[in-house]
Structure formats: structure tokens, C-alpha cells
């Protein structure tokens, strides 16, 4: 990562931790929910978010939802984290293959991308099932890099109530996880949605997260021109362009569904109401 961006993305971890834990705690109570449910994959995003959730409330519930494409090491790491969070009585092991295979046979497809998204959506359904049963919210684990790139499944891992680390880039999440004392095997592990075997985020994107975050930060936080980004980062032009075009192409994934206006006061276009409206 370029030193300039590294410097700008530096964090006062203690303050960020205090802030995010407090916000999560207040969000849960303002929503009149009793706690939070989270899916723990063994990756850094869900590990950090779960750490914050367990600090925010004793009422947490963890789901481990492996499929055939989940590396064994991820499941082991998730189980180790559950022990660390003293969550042995507050988790469920929920294998999704049977449900996913049913969708696959009913829809007559084995396309790995279609099935990959089914996996993410089945997990979403599982999370909401437990959340409603317990009176909890679904705590999402997406980070800013993934949200900006659109590197998530719409209504899958994107289908959550709140995104506590949604304003932290992947590289910041890794640093923060390290500061939180999470195991090195978690924060130094290559990021992967594990929707099919061997999938890793950086190989699929074709770009390292250090570079992704540099471009995202310079292009969208600092609103720099392509020329400035190229000269600041030294990255090849196609890489910079690809990152920017991924953000633009995925805008629909970050928005509520479009409503075609007829009336004088349409819901998305005219309404500006706070989330807690009462």
C-alpha cells in the first residue's frame, strides 16, 4: 500500500473500538431488539464483527454455516473463536448443503456462481430464522471494500440489519483485528467468500486488497482524478479503471429497489425519514 494512503487510513483503534461497540449496543436497544445474531465464517470480517458484538452485548448468538466448499481450516478457526468469545452455549452448527442441493436440483443448475449465491442466501434465511426466534437483529459483516466493490450477494450476505464495520476498509479491518488480539491465522488469512472451492477474493478480483483500498480511498474518499491515482500509487491504469468500474456497476446492490414514480410524494425519491421513526 502506498505510504500516503497507509497514513490516511491509520486509526486510533481504542477510540474506534469504543465507538463501534457503543453504536452497536445502542442500535440494538433503539431497535427494541434483545441482541444480535451473526454468521461466523472463520474470516477476518466476521471475526472482528463478532468480537465487537460480544463486547456490545451478552445476548449474542453465533451461527457456523459451512458447506462443501468451506475450507476445514475456516470451520476450525470459527470454533476456536467461539471458545475465545465464551460462546459455547450461544452458537449453532448449521450445515447448508442439503438445502443448497435442493435448490440446485429444483432449479436444474450446477452453475457455481448461481449456487454460490444460493449458499449466501440460504445463510441469510438461517440467520433471520434464528434472529426472529430469539428477538435479535442480524448483524452483518461486510466491510467498506466489499460494499464498494459490490463483492457480496444481494439479499445474501448483503441481507442484514446493520453493518458495524461497513465504513472500514479491508486493510483497516485486518489491522483492527490484530489490535483486538484475534489470532494471526484469522487476520493474515487470504479473504474468501468460499462460495466454491479454491475461491479467493484477491484472485477473483485479480487485485490485492492493499491496492483495491488505495484506489477506493483515493477515488471516492478524496475524489482524486485517475491521473493522480496513477501517479500516487504507481498502479497500472487497467487496475485503477477496473476498481472504479466495479464500484459504479454495483451501485444497484447498495440501494433499495427503484420505484417508478407516479404520485406527488414517492417513497424513495421524496421521503427522508429517519430509520427509527416513531
Amino acid at each position: 500500500m502506498h505510504p500516503y494512503v497507509r497514513e490516511r487510513l491509520g486509526l486510533n483503534y481504542e477510540m474506534v473500538d469504543k465507538y463501534l461497540v457503543m453504536r452497536l449496543r445502542k442500535y440494538i436497544s433503539d431497535a427494541s431488539a434483545r441482541g444480535g445474531v451473526i454468521g461466523l465464517s472463520g474470516g477476518v470480517d466476521s471475526a472482528l464483527t463478532a468480537r465487537l458484538l460480544t463486547k456490545a452485548t451478552d445476548n449474542f448468538f453465533i451461527l457456523v454455516m459451512p458447506s462443501k466448499s468451506t475450507p476445514k481450516k475456516d470451520v476450525e478457526d470459527a470454533m476456536e473463536l467461539i471458545r475465545e468469545f465464551k460462546g459455547e452455549n450461544r452458537y449453532a452448527y448449521f450445515e447448508i448443503d442439503e438445502l443448497v442441493d435442493k435448490f440446485s436440483s429444483l432449479a436444474k443448475t450446477e452453475d457455481k456462481r448461481v449456487i454460490g449465491n444460493v449458499k449466501a442466501r440460504v445463510r441469510m434465511v438461517a440467520l433471520y430464522t434464528f434472529a426472529q426466534r430469539l428477538g435479535y437483529l442480524v448483524v452483518g459483516t461486510g466491510d467498506k471494500s466489499e460494499l464498494m466493490l459490490g463483492y457480496f450477494t444481494k439479499y445474501g450476505d448483503g441481507g442484514v440489519d446493520v453493518l458495524p464495520i461497513g465504513d472500514l476498509y479491508k486493510t483497516q479491518v485486518r489491522e483492527m483485528a490484530k489490535w483486538e488480539g484475534l489470532p494471526e491465522s484469522i487476520y493474515s488469512k487470504p479473504s474468501s467468500p468460499a462460495l466454491w472451492e479454491g475461491q479467493t477474493a484477491e484472485s477473483e478480483l485479480g487485485i490485492r486488497y492493499e491496492d483495491v483500498d488505495s484506489v477506493l480511498y483515493l477515488a471516492f474518499d478524496e475524489m482524486r482524478s485517475e491521473e493522480q491515482i496513477l501517479s500516487l500509487t504507481g498502479l497500472p491504469s487497467p487496475v485503477v479503471r477496473r476498481v472504479i468500474s466495479l464500484v459504479k456497476a454495483s451501485q444497484h446492490k447498495r440501494m433499495p429497489p427503484e420505484i417508478f414514480r407516479l404520485s406527488g410524494r414517492a417513497i424513495n425519491s421524496d421521503w427522508r425519514y429517519p430509520r427509527h421513526w416513531s
Binding site: 487510513l9 486509526l11 477510540m15 469504543k18 453504536r23 445502542k26 425519514y273 429517519p274 430509520r275 421513526w277
Partner: protein, 270 residues
Amino acid sequence: MVLRVELAQIEVKVGRVEENLKKHLEILETTSADCVVFPELSLTGYILKDLIYETFKEVEEAVSRVAETSRCAVLGGIKEISPGILRNSAAVILNGQVNFVPKFYLPTYGLFEERRYFQRGNPLRDLRVFDFNGFKFGVLICEDAWHPEPVEALARLGAEAVFIPSASPMRRLGKSLGIEDQWTSLIKAHSLMNGVWIVFSNLVGPQDEEFFWGGSMVSSPLGEIRAKGKIMEEDRVVAEIDVEDVRRSRFFSSYRDHVREFHQLLSELD
């Protein structure tokens, strides 16, 4: 002449005027200060968005309730000056009398959308200096402190202190809290340049996606932070502000040299 001021750094609920009023009254009943300064839109919450259209109606009644009990208080509310025309205002309560001071600069950028809802005040009509027990103060709201003229105008109208009820949301939390550094710089600079006390009372807590960071502070006319509220938590801070400090700072500054021609020039520029 010394005034004890309380900065009531409170968390309020968006749109719940009755609940918020109760909190105001509790603080006013228990304060040890002469005058209590609440944050901007403290009765209604700041991130009201379209809830403004229903919430504003409850403000005047709430302000009257405070005026029945408090001798000196500054609260944040909304004033309808004619049907459908709303102003983000500070209600200044002095010995049972209520005056509304409107905000002059309405932030409409980034997360802010005040011009969608509010009309700005006119400094020629609305800028006022109040007198409480011989202590002269003016009131400005949040964004007004991001410009040099409002504080200077109040100082030259005779204010010895400027109370700034604010609703500053957390931004730029990196290695330090960037927004706190910026406000501290502004507040110190206003006090130093004008030889006045600055009393910044900020909201705290979450409202929709935003989070108000607190950190209310009092700066002396020499630009020293004399009192400071907690960051990200509710707090009640009491400070004594003394006219003698105003006098001492102005003896040794060029505040007396008001070069009016700069303002003539400014009046012709965009």
C-alpha cells in the same frame, strides 16, 4: 462580573419532544449554574429529516414550559415564523421572556440538508446581544461558527461571551478525531481574534446513521480551553466565565482596530 454556565451535553431522541423536554427540565432543576446552554435542536433531535414537518409544532409549548421555571437557558428548537416557514433556532430564555435566534448559515452539503427544511436568519434583524445580570452574551448556532463574521459581529455589538449550541456529527475518525481538532481550532481562533468567551455545547449520541461526538468546551478570551466535556458520552460541564478575562485579553490585542474597509470590500465579493 462572573457567570456560571452549564454546558448540558445531552443525548436526545429524534422527534420525541416530550421525552427530551423532561430531560431538559431535570437538568434545569438540578443545575448549580446561572445559565444552562443546551445543544442545537436539543428539544427535537437534529437528524429529523421529514419528521420536521410534524415535530416543529410541539416546540413552542415545550419552550414555554421551560420558561416557566428557568431564569436563564438556551435550548435548541424550531420556530415557525409564518405558516410553512421554519427556522432552526435557539430559544433564549431570560427571566421568563423567550427570544428565538435563528441560524444564519444552513449547511447543505455532505450529510447536511438544512436548506431543504429551513430558512436562514437575517443578521441585520436577528443578531442580538442579551444581558443577564449585567453579563452580555450572544447566541450562534453550530455552522455559524464556521465563518468569521457572526462571532465578530456579536463581539462588536458588545457580547462578552458567545454561546454556540451545536449538533456536530462525528466525522474523520482516524488516528485522531478530526472533527474535534477542527472545532477546537475554530473555537480558539474566535476567542483569540475577538477577545470573547466561546461556549460550545454539543449534542452526543446516535441519531440515524450519524453519531454526535460531544466534547463541549469553553474557551477563554485568550484561547485556553477552560472546560471540556467527555467525548462520545453524556456530560454536564460547569464553567465560570469572567468579564475580567475579556478586558485582559483586549488590552493586549489589536481587536480595537476594526478596519471597516475590509467589510466594505467583503460586501462586494461573492
